[in-house]
């Protein structure tokens, strides 16, 4: 596999040490919120969990190029790393997980993992996969028609490219040179189905046929992802059109809390990928660059633990919506 940008130096991609530590903290926060979510599930408090674990670098590396509240993002159900970076909170994630009244995404109406924020331009995801891509091209066209420099980021797993919507969107984006970045987080599985039964040929190479660039990147190397995404965002802002990024990564948990992945993959395979955990790899980089030591690592870990504790406790205490509210918010007034 020819992976672009293994161990890109941060100086060469224009990131300061503050940026790196922010990225690191966000990746770790996403991981810890996720781990706590599984505990809440096992305790019988959360009905359904769907994870970001293993994909934090692909998410944060890409999203670091977004201007919150200006650009648009269509995240998919694993993208808590993206939404946390944009400004959603651990508290909000748990409120959503537990379906509480204060759930910032849907007020308890939609499943966890379906992020939504008008303020942050985070568009609620469809549970049927792949639907986001055509919508993203429409948002990109709106930016273009208004002469604004906004960019739209549309994300999905590798299996979300199998349906017609993905093709239709890329064709449309290519015809109109739309400012959209397609991020495919290729984590090797669609529930039980491995990539070789899902993807003919290669995803990123399909971009060439639509007339725009496609790049493959090591999705567990946050700086390599950042660099590939930066090029894509800059291209979009210059009005030159879309880019397809295929980030190669691995789903470190079962598909969801409803799944038993022992039915279809070996434990050794997962162990192998644990060695390539994007958070561990980034820690090593930061240590070698002199930006992180044992002490600062512990400090960050402790502050994240406090944040996660506070957030999950708050969410557990928070009330559910009154059942009568179920019928509200269907139609807009007017």
């Amino acid at each position: 596999m020819d992976l672009k940008g293994a161990r890109t130096g941060h100086g060469s991609v224009g990131l300061e040490s503050d940026d790196l530590l922010r990225m690191y903290r966000c990746m770790l926060l996403a991981r810890k919120v996720d781990e706590r979510s599984w505990i809440l599930n096992r305790q019988g408090k959360a009905a359904f969990v769907i994870s970001c674990q293993g994909q934090e670098a692909a998410q944060v590396g890409t999203a670091y190029n977004l201007r919150p509240g200006h650009d648009y993002v269509y995240p998919y159900y694993r993208d808590s790393g993206i939404t946390l970076l944009l400004g959603q909170t651990a508290r909000g994630q748990f409120l959503s997980l537990l379906g509480k009244k204060e759930d910032p995404n849907s007020a308890g109406r939609q499943m966890p993992g379906h992020y939504s924020s008008r303020e942050l331009n985070i568009v609620t995801a469809s549970a049927p996969v792949g639907v986001q891509y055509p919508q993203a091209t429409g948002s990109a066209l709106a930016f273009k028609m208004r002469g604004e420099d906004g960019v739209v980021l549309a994300c999905g797993g590798e299996a979300s490219t199998s349906g017609g919507d993905c093709h239709e969107a890329m064709n449309f984006a290519g015809i109109h040179d739309l400012p959209v970045v397609f991020l495919i987080e290729n984590n090797a599985y669609a529930i039980s189905v491995p990539e070789k039964m899902q993807v003919a040929g290669s995803i990123y190479k399909r971009a060439e046929g639509y007339g725009f660039p496609g790049v493959e990147v090591d999705g567990n190397d946050v700086l390599a992802v950042y660099e590939a995404a930066r090029d894509a965002f800059e291209r979009a802002r210059r009005g030159e059109g879309p880019t397809l990024i295929e980030a190669r990564t691995y789903r470190m948990t079962a598909h969801s809390s409803d799944d038993d992945d022992r039915r279809y993959r070996e434990r050794e395979e997962i162990e192998g990928w644990r060695q390539k955990d994007p958070i561990i790899r980034f820690e090593k980089y930061l240590e070698e660059a002199g930006l992180l030591d044992d002490e600062s690592k512990e400090e960050i870990a402790a502050s994240i633990k406090d944040e996660v504790d506070e957030a999950s406790e708050y969410a557990e205490q928070a009330p559910y919506a009154d059942p009568e509210e179920a019928v509200e918010r269907v139609y807009a007034e007017g």
Binding site: G99, R109, P128, A159, S162, G163, A321, P323, V327
Partner: protein
């Protein structure tokens, strides 16, 4: 005869038909090594191999279209929708094509296709995983639509579906895969177009299908205990063709009817049932036909909101009481 779950009965029907007829094959997402996300096809790949138990990419329109093409060649694909909600992505293949090929070929070409999967809600997966599509698919000539609720019926109706030369929409009670009942070990068929009287009664007829039949059975018990009312319960089970006769016969006996459905009130199966009753048994009615339906919202996620959005025992019992001009309690 032995006790089997709804899931096992369903699997057994497909397995026996695959043994009987080499042209039968299964297609869908995660149905192979995984055995299906609801474990309906568990173990079948070991027996029949990946050519007859075929994992597909996530492309409902694509693999349903492929199945239509296979069926026109004489194969008998049974396509799994991981849930019926994803069939909207294949709606053009199903409604515009599978349903019309026979007619538009002047009767030359058959499409012996079964599309199956869990339908309806109640398992806290929110609106995009919760539709009940009896009324939608029941609308289209060219399709047959069934919605069995017992393990006995699901096996017999799946066997009928696979042997039928037409496209069959097979809507399973997704929340009830684990429920058990007596099921014959050998193959047998349950004909389409024939309703089942699930419980006999004299005072009021409760008419439903799928998961709501069990709700009606509980309500019938409740009415007997609390109100000394004898309710008859009809499980429609075949939506298209619809057995009008069994419904009419029952209403002629009880003079009162309540139609119960999980989906929304407007343009639903219950509306159709009410229309048929007023058409064919108007003079026998002692009260308007009542309907009980889901709340007019997309199904919400939070458990308490979800429960509030579905028909409850109280709602059905009160509808029956209203039909009987009794005091309502809810």
């Amino acid at each position: 005869m032995s006790e089997k779950s709804y899931r096992e009965a369903l699997r057994e029907a497909m397995e026996q038909e695959m043994e009987r007829d080499e042209s039968v094959l299964l297609m869908g997402e995660d149905i192979g090594v995984y055995g299906g996300t609801h474990l309906i096809t568990d173990g079948l790949i070991d027996k029949f191999g990946p050519h007859r138990i075929m994992d597909t990419p996530i492309a409902e329109g694509g693999f349903t279209g492929a199945a239509v093409g296979m069926a026109m060649m004489g194969l008998k694909p049974v396509v799994e929708m991981m849930t019926w909600n994803f069939s909207f992505l294949a709606a053009d293949q199903i409604i515009q094509n599978a349903a019309k090929v026979r007619y538009f070929s002047g009767g030359q070409v058959e499409v012996p296709l079964v599309i199956r999967g869990p339908n309806g809600g109640g398992v806290q997966l929110s609106a995009q995983h919760t539709h009940s599509l009896e009324n939608m698919y029941g609308h289209f000539p060219g399709l047959k639509v069934v919605s069995p609720v017992t393990p006995y019926d699901v096996k017999g109706m799946m066997t009928t579906a696979i042997r039928d030369p037409n496209p069959v929409i097979f809507l399973e009670a997704g929340a009830l895969y684990g429920t058990k009942g007596e099921v014959p070990d050998d193959d047998y068929t349950v004909p389409f177009g024939k309703a089942r009287v699930a419980r006999e009664g004299d005072d009021v007829t409760l008419i439903s299908y799928g998961r709501q039949v069990n709700l009606c059975m509980r309500v019938a018990d409740k009415l007997e205990e609390e109100d000394d009312v004898s309710a008859e319960v009809i499980d429609v089970r075949s939506i298209r063709p619809l057995d009008e006769e069994t419904i009419i016969e029952s209403v002629k006996k009880t003079h009162r009817a309540v139609a119960v459905q999980e989906q929304w009130r407007y343009f639903g199966v219950a509306s159709e049932v009410a229309a048929i009753i007023q058409d064919k048994a108007f003079d026998y009615l002692d009260a308007p036909v009542m309907r009980v339906s889901g709340a007019e919202v997309p199904a919400p996620y939070a458990r308490n909101l979800e429960v509030a959005a579905f028909p409850s025992e109280e709602m059905v019992a009160d509808a029956a009481r209203r039909a009987l001009y009794m005091e309502v309690k809810g």
